[in-house]
Symmetry: C2
Subunit: 223 residues, 2 copies
Amino acid sequence: MDKRRTYGQACPVAHAMDVLGERWAVLVVRELRLGPRRYSDLAANLPGIGPNVLAQRLRELEHSGVVRRRTLPPPAAARVYELTAWGAELEPVFAALARWGTRSPQPLQGVLSPDSVLLGMRAFFRSAEPWDATVEIRLERDVYALRVEDGTVAELRRGEAAAPDAVLTGGVAVLHAVTSGLRTLDDALRDGGLVVEGDATVAHRLVAAAQRPGAAALGSPGP
Amino acid sequence: MDKRRTYGQACPVAHAMDVLGERWAVLVVRELRLGPRRYSDLAANLPGIGPNVLAQRLRELEHSGVVRRRTLPPPAAARVYELTAWGAELEPVFAALARWGTRSPQPLQGVLSPDSVLLGMRAFFRSAEPWDATVEIRLERDVYALRVEDGTVAELRRGEAAAPDAVLTGGVAVLHAVTSGLRTLDDALRDGGLVVEGDATVAHRLVAAAQRPGAAALGSPGP
DNA sequence: CCGCATCCCCAAAGATACTG
DNA sequence: CAGTATCTTTGGGGATGCGG
């Protein structure tokens, strides 16, 4: 008998919470939004989760059809977890949740996973003019490929970029501070918190477009 | 010391789950989407929640700024819970969650609260042509006012409608079956499962527009 | 009655250690 | 590396009770 704890409602929202309502489940899915990950990478980016809980969540998400286990073909024969087609359809949910979360009366505080920073950049990406570029972003040990087409983010995934116009390297906290408007890109470049190789104009455009709404306006420092 | 259990991440999604991630929290908010409710009405529409958990969720949601407690002015001096402005901004999240939930590989099964049926009708409302109408919908002991303007749902709230073009009365299960395409409105009217007073055309238009995508196409019954 | 608080019990989360 | 085993702690489910 399937005695799983469920809300027992036919409401689609209730069913969604049956699938995603357990603790850590949403954050596990979030860590898979930019591509497949291994168990230990998931654990490393979800501080505090505990191995048993992570394993159980992955099992449940697999069983409900959100996540799929796959073994990479040799020579990289590693087991990875990735979103199913249905799991990938959670994008609009994350978009709405992220916008709602930023409007919280309480300030956001805590650590940030590399994925979160990149996902935040994409979520709030807004460009005044159409432009194209391919950027590789290197945060500590994670590498991301970001392609802008017509002023919108056409692609964002984990992994190296082919023939990038610019490579942006730095720390998670610094990049987040810059896209949050707490620091300027020039300031971060000056002290080496961020480093740009290639077309610096592209990096400036990228940071400008990824600026979060409500961010502190820099350039005219207050009293 | 505030030792509340939190994910400790600055990610807006993680913060949203800090607020909404506890069991029953999302469903409590759902029950407040169509207007203020009293404690006992919430408990009645959330079968299985238990009084202590409901009270605790309401306290937490109030503390985090999603829900507000209010005492209605006399003579109806009752305590009600209602969404704050921030809580009302969860609408896009519910819309996305509902669409995702209906695309689950597993079929939705269980009971349905009256609010869920009405919210589902609004979520999937899609009209081919512009039309206006005010409809009052009476499900068991709950009454709703629904106003259609230009073929879209301009208003949906709990309470009686002023000068409705039609009044639709019936049971939760029957209305859900009709909007799900499992039964036709005419069929439900024939056996009294639903009753229409006023303009029957309006009721037919309403049901047609609220038809869920992927619903079984009736009219040409199978073998 | 309505709006909870209390109590008891069990299931799930957290922490740690350990293994194929 | 990818989890399992085990133990402790916390929170939810269910019943009952009590004050306003």
